[in-house]
């Protein structure tokens, strides 16, 4: 029995990795199609039906391009940077609870890569490491544009991490736990955190955009001022890893937003469903709901990208430090007062 659980666990972990990679792959396709649609165009539709083979064609192209390392670059760090970016992006998906429990034999196995009781801290810590890939890659390129991109990424991530952490604190105060699964279970049915924490949700979402280096906060790679930012000197699959890690990050951020604020695998009427269908089927419906929410937020990320222009750097900093952090602190205080009043 012990072995069985181990097998199921490793299958779940592999599945989580595979799914995050697959979703990231198809996010590139979805992003291009969506961008085209928002601009009255068609987007890539030649490779396979609806252009669905486009990501594979892109990958083949990136793999077969020339590997190039600039002569004055720091060779090992130049390779290490994109690998680290990809590694940290993938690691953070491990603690996300994608669903309730699966009944196998007489055991209930939670649908989650690793169960830790400090899941929020874990994902937060991994996210804060994500900037190293960009910084090291940008610095090792030995190019002033790359360096500027790297420095921008570092200061942007540190600034927005603060507001992000403070926004999460209000959620933690409500659930009283750092365990992502417990946070999800507290939002049973339609009792989602977003109804109690609308301000915290907006702050968190804004910071998630900044942490993923997505427009309107894509200053580290702003192509019309810094050429390509931190990945100016990169080519072939090393560039691919950088671009890919952005999409993995986007998937993880969307999943965490839906877990923290939109109830994860909870949906209104889930008790009714649970009464009438077998346990595993109910779990599967929950997983589907979770993915629907995640996909919506991925869509939202792209929608925002093709709507809002990029911030200027001083605007970015003043938004982070002068608006989001004070707002997040006020949010914490109000949440604390309300909790004190009603308990």
């Amino acid at each position: 029995m012990e072995l069985d659980i181990l097998t199921v666990k490793s299958i779940i972990i592999l599945l989580v990795f595979g799914i995050s990679l697959g979703i990231a792959t198809y996010s590139t396709w979805a992003e291009r199609r969506l961008a085209a649609y928002l601009q009255d165009r068609q987007g890539p539709n030649r490779a396979g039906p609806l252009g669905l083979l486009q990501p594979i064609a892109d990958a083949v192209k990136l793999f077969t391009k020339e590997e190039f390392i600039p002569a004055s670059a720091n060779k090992w760090l130049f390779i290490f940077g994109p690998s680290l970016a990809m590694l940290t992006a993938l690691m953070s998906s491990a603690v996300i609870p994608f669903g309730s429990t699966l009944e196998i034999g007489d055991k209930f196995i939670p649908v989650q890569g690793i169960e830790v009781n400090i899941g929020v801290l874990y994902s937060f810590g991994i996210v804060s490491l994500g900037v190293y890939g960009i910084m090291i890659g940008g610095w090792a390129s030995n190019n002033k544009f790359s360096l500027l991109g790297a420095v921008r990424a570092a200061s942007q991530n540190i600034s927005y991490e603060l507001a992000m952490g403070l926004a999460i604190v209000a959620v933690l105060m409500m659930s009283g736990s750092l365990d992502l699964r417990k946070i999800v279970e507290d939002q049973h049915g339609g009792n989602w955190n977003v109804f109690y924490q609308p301000l915290g949700f907006i702050i968190f979402l804004t910071c998630a955009f900044a942490e993923c280096n997505r427009t309107p906060f894509d200053l580290p790679e702003s192509e019309n001022e810094l050429v390509g930012g931190y990945h100016t000197e990169y080519s072939s699959m090393k560039l691919g890893l950088f671009l890919f890690s952005e999409y993995v990050n986007m998937f993880v951020a969307s999943a965490i937003v839906s877990v923290l604020y939109f109830g994860g695998y909870n949906y209104p009427g889930m008790d009714l469903v649970a009464d009438h269908v077998p346990h595993n089927l109910a779990t599967a419906i929950g997983i589907a709901v979770m993915f629907a929410k995640t996909f919506f937020f991925i869509f939202f990320f792209m929608w925002i990208r093709w709507t809002i222009p990029r911030f200027r750097y001083d605007q970015l900093m003043s938004l982070g430090w002068k608006s989001l952090i004070p707002l997040a602190i006020a949010n914490i205080i109000v949440t604390g007062c309300v909790i004190l009043l009603f308990n």
Partner: protein, 195 residues
Amino acid sequence: MRLSDRAKDVSDKNMSFAERIYLPAIATGLGVTIKHFFKKKVTIQYPEVQRPVSPNFRGLHVLKRDDEGRERCTACGLCALSCPAEAISMVAEERKKGEEHLYREEKYAAVYEINMLRCIFCGFCEEACPKQAIYLQSDKMAPAFYGREEVIYGKDRLLESKDKTRPTDGPKRRLTATDTYIDPIAVGYNRQLKK
């Protein structure tokens, strides 16, 4: 006077609270973009769907034959001379006995080449031709190339086939270094000298 009613007066008044928190503006922007998401796309799927072209559109060249299936071209070189891009070159040859069913005139073009990378599809060759031998089709465009050797169209690809359908059965001979052909530059130069 206002040219359109879309102009807005510029003002430097302070932003209201709603404007300063940006969120309503962002929501409006999202609304605009999502409206475009559902709009009809204007893209034309080119190889499958083609835009209609004008009947006097100047596309790919063709060397015409007359009603009896004889080549009309007499290799006078006027097309090459009139070509501003100097894309046409040819080698003339005399018609032998027994070839009357092949060539209409006593002189014909043994080699006729158009460099499609140089050609600007101006149609001057068509205008210059006294025999109505070269013609720019309105329904066919010069295709894209994969290699430079495909760029030069010889008689094998230019000449109309006997039953007026392509591909042609024209000669496959191409220009060689030993050929003496009408050099448009030299001709023009001579003409200037004569003046």
